[in-house]
Symmetry: C2
Subunit: 151 residues, 2 copies
């Protein structure tokens, strides 16, 4: 599914740098926004290949990087060695709780977290840039848990 508003943001971002506007880049944008949840670059590559795309792995990796620079996607690290992305287009800031039993990822937005990163940065004489806050926990109701995986 295409999203013309996101495409316009990406187009402007590409023009602003010396980046070219190519069909492949928009193909990756569309696939990424279609994905519901958190995905690794390789996941998206496989999905696109299965949908008969002629895209290359290299293009997917590079384009996801571009999309996170223009803040259409955000990059996440959940403690394994995979870089994950999720759409940040029209989404509020949030953090993640990861179930250590099944890998399920629960998003939360807690007011108390909001100002902390910038406050603490200031206190240490740094200019705040970004942060990552992950909680690892076990679901109290295992039945909610066992049959679901978002890895």
């Amino acid at each position: 599914m295409r999203n013309s508003q996101a495409e316009e943001i990406f187009r402007s971002f590409l023009k602003a740098g010396k980046n070219r506007i190519t069909p492949e880049r928009f193909e990756v944008l569309d696939a990424a926004l279609d994905y519901d949840g958190h995905f690794g670059a390789d996941d998206l590559y496989i999905i696109m290949k299965n949908a008969n795309s002629r895209i290359s792995r290299a293009t997917v990796y590079k384009t996801l990087e571009l999309l996170s620079h223009c803040e259409l996607l955000s990059k996440r690290h959940f403690g394994d060695h995979i870089t994950r992305y999720e759409s940040s287009f029209k989404r509020q800031v949030h953090d993640h709780l990861i179930c250590v039993d099944c890998g399920r990822i629960v998003e939360f937005a807690d007011q108390r977290v909001k100002k902390l990163p910038a406050d603490i940065s200031e206190g240490l004489d740094f200019n705040f840039e970004s942060y990552s806050f992950n909680i690892f926990a076990r679901c109290k109701e295992p039945k909610k848990c066992k049959h679901f995986r978002d890895k």
Copy 2:
């Protein structure tokens, strides 16, 4: 340098599982506690090899895993694809600010963070296990920054 108190904790932990007590494991413990800061498994392997140890990479990786299970070390992920460890023996809980310019890691312990992970877990009907909170920022005084690397 050897630390007999930490060795005793490790020894008990090993006995409690069906793990054997071997000289190699204590060699890794000693090297890890000697390291001042955050290190990757391979860093420690190289250091030990340079000190003429006969240890193998596999043993270092596996032993660090054991040491983090018995909480003598804690495992950290700073957003690159390296698993880092640091001593948690007799150290207070803390979080990290990483300078995006030079990679310097500053530790901080902020009271406001303390109860958050367990509180939020409860609120979402999970049993809290662990958390990770990293801030990425830029040093306001670049001179403090440029000449230092802790990667």
